[in-house]
Amino acid sequence: MARTTLKRVHGYLAEFDSATDVYHASEHIRDAKFRRWDVHSPFPIHGLNEAMGLSRSKLPWFVFFGGLAGLATAFSLEYITQVVLYPTVVQAKPTNIFTIPAFFPVMFELTILLSALTTVFGCFALMGLPRWNHPIFASRQFSKFSDDRFFICIEARDPKFHQTETRDFLEKLGGKNIELVEDEL
């Protein structure tokens, strides 16, 4: 199979032993004003968002509007079918807007349903998943991120990235097995 030898540098990957180490290293990278970098860990590390200088996720905003959409859908569905299209007197309940208490359960359920769907798909969109191929998977040691290792990857597209200085910087922070991750084009 013909393979191109052209490679593109993705960035430097450094391994850390513990959550504490990676937390403190993140604080330094944040203060060094790097922008294109990430910490890869087997579990979410408490307080790392602050240590990385990340802002709070915007997901709740999407979910709020998703929930409103669910509420509106349920109300329209019920009002249009029960009051406009096919008014029937059941259990002596009126066939006008005053029958709304009987509509509440379905309004509630659809609010929850659409909020939850927005949460899941909004979360996927914000995380950039599904994305099955990523340059970082070219690294062999990276597969330990889901077991017990912690990694910091500073990407080459960061304006402050430097071929030797970034490496030294990661070394100074205590990174081990520093590797230049390249993916084949």
Partner: protein, 485 residues
Amino acid sequence: MSDTATATSTPSSQVRILEREPLVTNNRSYNWITERVCGIVENRQPALWWWLFIPSVLLTGVTFFCFAYLISTGVGVWGQKQPVAWAWDITNFVFWIGIGHAGTLISAILFLTRQKWRTAVNRAAEAMTIFAVMCAGLFPAFHVGRVWMVWFLAPVPNANAIWQNFKSPLLWDVFAVSTYFTVSAMFWYIGLIPDLATIRDRCKPGLRKTLYGLFSLGWRGGNRQWNHYEMAYLLLAALSTPLVLSVHSVVSFDFATSVVPGWHTTIFPPYFVAGAIFGGFAMVLTLMIPVRAIYGLHDLITEKHIDNMAKIILLTGTIVGYAYSMEFFIAYFSGNPYELQVFQLRGLYGPSVWYYYAMFICNVFAPQLFWFKWCRKNLWVVMAVCMFVNAGMWYERYVIIVTTLERHFTPGSWRTYDATWVDNWTFIGTFGMFMMLFLLFLRFLPVIALGEVKAILPQSDPHHDPHGEKGVHELEIESGKTKVA
């Protein structure tokens, strides 16, 4: 922050900080947890797995045979005749839906209340929820009689231009249960993504790696992903909490909004929800105690976990006992002769009093053993009580549904209900289906939420001090900021 904040060498003059039991015993490492949990999926299953799996598949076949027989012959093969139009099918539906509720309680409510012990059992409990709701959904679908018309439940226009009656609690139920199933499945899947990635990263290239890779969506565990992931998890927990309370409330509305004496009571929603959580926790323990023993998960699912769940069973069992007694009292106190008559027939001299006694003994008396620590520590006792509760919760639904209808308003139409073999085997078969799905879950998916358990280890706290240095509290005591008596 850390759940295991301890002061081991506190001199007697200082305040004693009580030691918490660790959530993962024997100070296990991240790698040990990965190996142990992924090992279940990667290694051969024990022979017992096959001994359980094959009968479960056969039993599943029995359920579907019974349904096929029902469809080909007619609803008369079931035991219900007027006035008992709702019998085992609705009993089984409410029973299975209730089982599911403990899963959502563990994954959502205990998450919001920051109960970190939930991490060891939430994955299996959520799986149980989904499988139980699948079993539950079969019964009302076939109860409608002509199952090929079941799509009439969905709010889509049909040839007669008739719309569903949105004022009916039965339609609320359709929305509640389908929303519950969808949200539970999504919650479960979101939780699975990082763990599927763990299995993916351990697989050799091949079909397994491709499939686990496909379903883990290319997860990289970056904190820029965890940031949104944790928010999504929090939001789903916050959405599932009112959802789970609403689902069994809506199920109880099927009864409570009717005018049938014995059903028309306002106590039903909280009573049903407490009962559901009660029965669900019993089922979680029924499943997790053997799983823990067979797969050697004693360090992850510790005695502390079982103890906590036993206490929840005690609490909810006592709430259920209160509800039973209060129902009886109100039947007398309301001065409504029909209501009183129903309860007298139910619990004192009706044809099905034994069901009532079985319910009371199993659900109210059996869990009282959990007041004693010895009983909560002895797994045989715990299993026995859980079996009582599993049975008792089925009796409860039978008592509510069948014994009420057996003695309807007109004594001339009274009839004692008898289940047929089709009723029996359809229900027994759903246990096979539940077990089959659970065994497949054990075989293919990580039974413990790896990422979540790792996150509660003491070394996962970035401010954890591996060298045994003094914590903030001890430093405050030394500097005199905190006064010690």
